[in-house]
Amino acid sequence: GAGVSQSPRYKVAKRGQDVALRCDPISGHVSLFWYQQALGQGPEFLTYFQNEAQLDKSGLPSDRFFAERPEGSVSTLKIQRTQQEDSAVYLCASSLGPAGETQYFGPGTRLLVL
């Protein structure tokens, strides 16, 4: 079956613009995660959904970052008023169960803020 997909794969934004990044998890996966990967670093946790409920958003760097998963499948990560330090690869992952399961990652969206 299809894996986790993300769109767009690349996004260039001018500083101050809003962006929306989409994640399509594996069908039937309950849990969905967003991570941020800065250049030369490992991914860092942003937020976690179980179905449509956002259970942990402790990793979101500021209130400019907002994530949603309204119907418990597709998720969108929105960044308002982008800043240069937001430039990174944003990875989405999904897992079958609510916790303790293997996370399957998408290819990521590379965001460059100029």
Partner: protein
């Protein structure tokens, strides 16, 4: 504080040689441990994971890892490296859902 340390930023090995990538963690409880591989432009692919039981874990592509509680380590090994193994390798530790990743080790393979 919970953390993962991968002390080697880059490692270069010759094709056919053995490989060991180091991973040390700091975690309050007994963690879940993972190794992922990332090729350029690709997402993270799970190589293997340790939840409990046998401390020597076998993964895909001929990789294995050994959990050593006394050393807080989970080193990744492969007896004979192939050119296609060149990639970035990430060790991660987690509890119920949140993964904490190391900063990665880039593997270069000499022909």
């Amino acid at each position: 504080a919970q953390s993962v340390t991968q002390p080697d930023i880059h490692i270069t090995v010759s094709e056919g040689a053995s490989l060991e990538l180091r991973c040390n963690y700091s975690y309050g409880a007994t963690p879940y441990l993972f190794w992922y591989v990332q090729s350029p432009g690709q997402g993270l692919q799970l190589l293997l994971k340790y939840f409990s039981g046998d401390t020597l874990v076998q993964g895909i592509k001929g990789f294995e890892a050994e959990f050593k509680r006394s050393q807080s380590s989970f080193n990744l090994r492969k007896p004979s490296v192939h050119w296609s193994d060149a990639a970035e390798y990430f060790c991660a530790v987690g509890s119920s859902y949140k993964l904490i990743f190391g900063s990665g080790t880039r593997l270069l393979v000499r022909p």
